[in-house]
């Protein structure tokens, strides 16, 4: 009987040994452990988001300048009256400095998301439309493509930030309907005017996004002496 028990024990070991232990503990590279797995720390996320927004704003400035040069070289002089071209969003976004000072983090994040999601489609349309121009500078084309890609990436980042800071799920924007249908016009001037207005207004909103993110970063990381505004 002893032999059999010994053999059984050996067999049990033999059977058990090839099996691999799955599910080893996850090594978190950062300190943050949110829920079941790690996540990138908020400081890093905010830094990356601010860098994104700054770059997007700078590229949008350059795009506007390139567009201006293109118009001038083609003899078109579009006097865009300021103020009534950039359509207000359905959800109000804080604009003035005093409003921004009173705004909460939650509102900042929501405004950011609204802005980012609003501009993804128009930028894609403009990029497609610019391809049809006769002598659009290639720098302008690359930049508009770059902007739409990076804006989508920034939108992802804002979503992640909302999840981390506010703990919400992915935010669904209520009330943001498709206000702008596909704009098809055979009139070249109208098309050009529309494209220019997209770039012009996006530049303003990119600056807003950059400002919001900087403010958010300042508030989250340097809580005590945030004298940005």
């Amino acid at each position: 009987m002893k032999k059999t028990t010994v053999l059984q024990v050996c067999v049990a070991f033999v059977l058990c040994s090839p099996q691999v232990m799955t599910g080893s503990p996850v090594d978190c590279p950062d300190q943050d452990t949110a829920g079941t797995s790690c996540s990138i720390s908020m400081e890093k996320l905010l830094e990356r988001a601010v860098q994104h927004a700054e770059l997007i704003y700078r590229v949008s400035e350059e795009s506007k300048l390139l567009f201006d040069e293109m118009l001038i070289s083609n003899g078109m002089n579009l006097h865009i009256p300021e103020g009534n071209m950039c359509a207000p969003k359905t959800v109000p976004v804080p604009l003035s400095k005093s409003e921004i000072q009173q705004i909460s983090d939650k509102w900042i994040l929501h405004s950011l998301l609204i802005l980012a999601q609003f501009w993804i489609d128009p930028l894609a349309e403009v990029q497609a439309s610019l391809e049809n121009y006769e002598n659009a500078p290639s720098a302008l084309l690359t930049r508009s493509k770059w902007m739409s890609t990076k804006l989508m990436s920034l939108e992802q980042g804002i979503t992640v930030l909302i999840r981390q800071i506010l703990g919400e799920g992915s935010l669904t924007l209520e009330g943001l309907e498709e206000t702008s249908d596909r704009f098809v016009s055979s009139n070249i001037l109208e098309t050009v005017r529309r494209d220019y207005s997209v770039i012009y207004c996006f530049r303003k909103d990119a600056h807003k996004m950059q400002t919001f993110l900087k403010l958010l970063k300042c508030r989250q990381i340097d809580k005590e002496n945030c004298s940005l505004f």
Binding site: C10, V11, V14, V20, S24, A34, G35, S39, L45, S153
Partner: protein, 502 residues
């Protein structure tokens, strides 16, 4: 019977276990070796398979996004080669952590690797720079060679998405040397070229470049580039040096030869002999001979001391000074009253001149002073004021107009007179000692600062006189001024001889 069955079973199990290597078994555990992102927009992960277990094994890579439980499979297994997974732009996000696992599976089972968390920004390592290009430039006297390169083609450096930094390293290729020379590294910043100055002529250099994005990892070194430095660089430099050295040596030899041949004249030329002090009239030979009379007679030169002979060169000296108030320099002026031909006056007054020196107190009036002391009759008397450049002084003295002028100026003819303004200044003192002159100078010879000529001593006193004194007079006339720089030398105590003149 049970025993037999058990033994058989155990034997079978043991056999299957021992025959692990030969027969088929589930695969061994794979291992993720590394993940890299070359441009912060995509990334690739590689793994190392474990044992295959003898059966054809396939590998899958699964990943989860951060906290969600949904599992995705690798989008591209082939782009980056064997045992790799390539995540393109759509699947790469810098906002989340990836939880990656590799599964090896064969007919007998599966094996799971350890899970790895990946943050895309932390695994950034670019490709090495491309098209490293070496050119040797021989310009003027500073030869150098230029290293040029291109950024890796997939890095987006122009938009500012990444900031790139380069590093160059080089070493001399030693063929056959025991010691291999070590690499020298240079940081090249963001530029796309780098110059290496003063390369060793005749050497063969090996150059490599690498780059880094933001704060990521350094890339691999680019493939080596070689450059051979030509040898003839030396000639131009050396020729000049050789010529210069030979010339120097020749000149040196010549001078040495000249010196040895002509010692004395050269020596005199280079170091002229210092003249010994010599007293005129004194013959050292006479001294040796010891005849004292002859010696001393030789010493006495005729005409010494000089006696004033010619009358038209007579200068009257007038001392007007208040010794009680000597130290009060406020408003004192010295006027040298001089008569004579056109004669440039200067610091050194000859004994043949008579000059009237008038020193005034602030309280005194020039007129009165003059009237007291001056004999008139001197026409075209010249008053020169010593010291600072003076304006023209016009004095009326007993009807004889006197024009005072700057010491360095020419004499001017007298004219009817005038408004006087005096700028007294602290001036040189000088004392003219004359024969029948009773010396008014103090016994204190420590005040002597200079000896101008045979009979002039310059006394020095402390405070220069500054001030302006106006003496009323009748008319004004133009002042002739000449520029003359006078250094205030101190209060001038004048001694004059007053010799009346017919």
């Amino acid at each position: 019977m049970w025993r037999d069955a058990e033994q058989a079973l155990t034997l079978i199990w043991l056999l299957s276990w021992t025959a692990h290597g030969v027969c088929h078994s589930p695969p061994g555990r794979p291992r993720l070796t590394r993940c890299r992102s070359p441009e912060k927009e995509t990334f690739t992960c590689w793994w190392e398979p474990g044992s295959t277990g003898g059966l054809p094994t396939s590998y899958q890579l699964y990943y989860r996004k951060e906290s969600s439980l949904e599992v995705f499979e690798c989008p591209d297994y082939h782009k980056a080669g064997n045992n790799s997974c390539y995540f393109d732009k759509q699947h790469t996000s810098i906002w989340i952590l990836y939880n990656i696992t590799v599964v090896a599976s064969n007919a007998l089972g599966k094996a799971y690797s350890e899970s790895v968390e990946v943050d895309v920004m932390d695994i950034v390592q670019p490709h090495p720079p491309e098209n490293v290009n070496l050119t040797f430039m021989q310009t003027t006297n500073s030869p150098y060679f230029l290293v040029q390169w291109q950024p890796p083609h997939d890095a987006d450096t122009r938009s500012g998405w990444v900031t790139i930094k380069y590093e160059v390293r080089l070493k001399i290729e030693n063929s056959g040397d025991e010691e291999d020379s070590s690499w020298e590294s240079y940081s090249a910043g963001k530029q796309l070229e780098f110059s290496i100055y003063s390369p060793q002529p005749g050497a063969c250099y090996i150059v490599q470049v690498r780059c880094k994005l933001d704060h990521g990892l350094w890339s691999e070194w680019s493939p080596s580039s070689f450059i051979q430095i030509p040898d003839n660089m030396l000639d131009t430099q050396n020729a000049v040096m050789i010529i210069a050295i030979t010339l120097t040596v020749i000149i040196f030899l010549l001078t040495a030869g000249a010196l040895t041949v002509k010692m004395k004249p050269v020596k005199h030329f280079l170091l002229p002999p210092v003249p010994e002090p010599k007293i005129s009239g004194l013959n050292t030979q006479l001294l040796k001979s010891g005849k004292s009379e002859e010696i001393f007679s030789a010493l006495i030169t005729p005409g010494y001391p000089q006696i004033v002979q010619s009358s038209d060169r007579q200068v009257e000296y007038l001392v007007v000074s208040d010794y009680d108030e000597e130290m009060d320099f406020e408003g004192k002026a010295h006027l040298e009253y001089q008569k004579g031909e056109n004669h440039p006056t200067d610091n050194t007054q000859k004994g043949s001149q008579n000059s009237i020196k008038i020193s005034l107190n602030s309280s005194q009036d020039l007129n009165t002073t003059l009237s007291e002391n001056v004999h008139s009759g001197a026409v075209s008397n010249q008053l020169s004021v010593l010291g600072e450049p003076q304006q023209l002084l016009h004095l009326k003295c007993k009807g004889s107009p006197v024009k005072a002028q700057d010491r360095n100026t020419q004499m001017s003819s007298g004219s009817n007179c005038e408004h006087v303004s005096i700028n007294p200044a602290g001036l040189t003192e000088y004392v003219e000692v004359d024969e029948d002159q009773k010396p008014l100078v103090r016994e204190d010879y420590s005040m002597v600062s200079d000896v101008i000529s045979d009979n002039i001593l310059v006394l020095q006193d402390s405070i220069p006189v500054q001030g302006h004194k106006e003496v009323k007079c009748d008319k004004t006339s133009e002042a002739e001024e000449t520029g003359g720089v006078f250094e205030p030398l101190g209060y001038l105590e004048t001694l004059t001889t007053f010799s009346s003149e017919s």
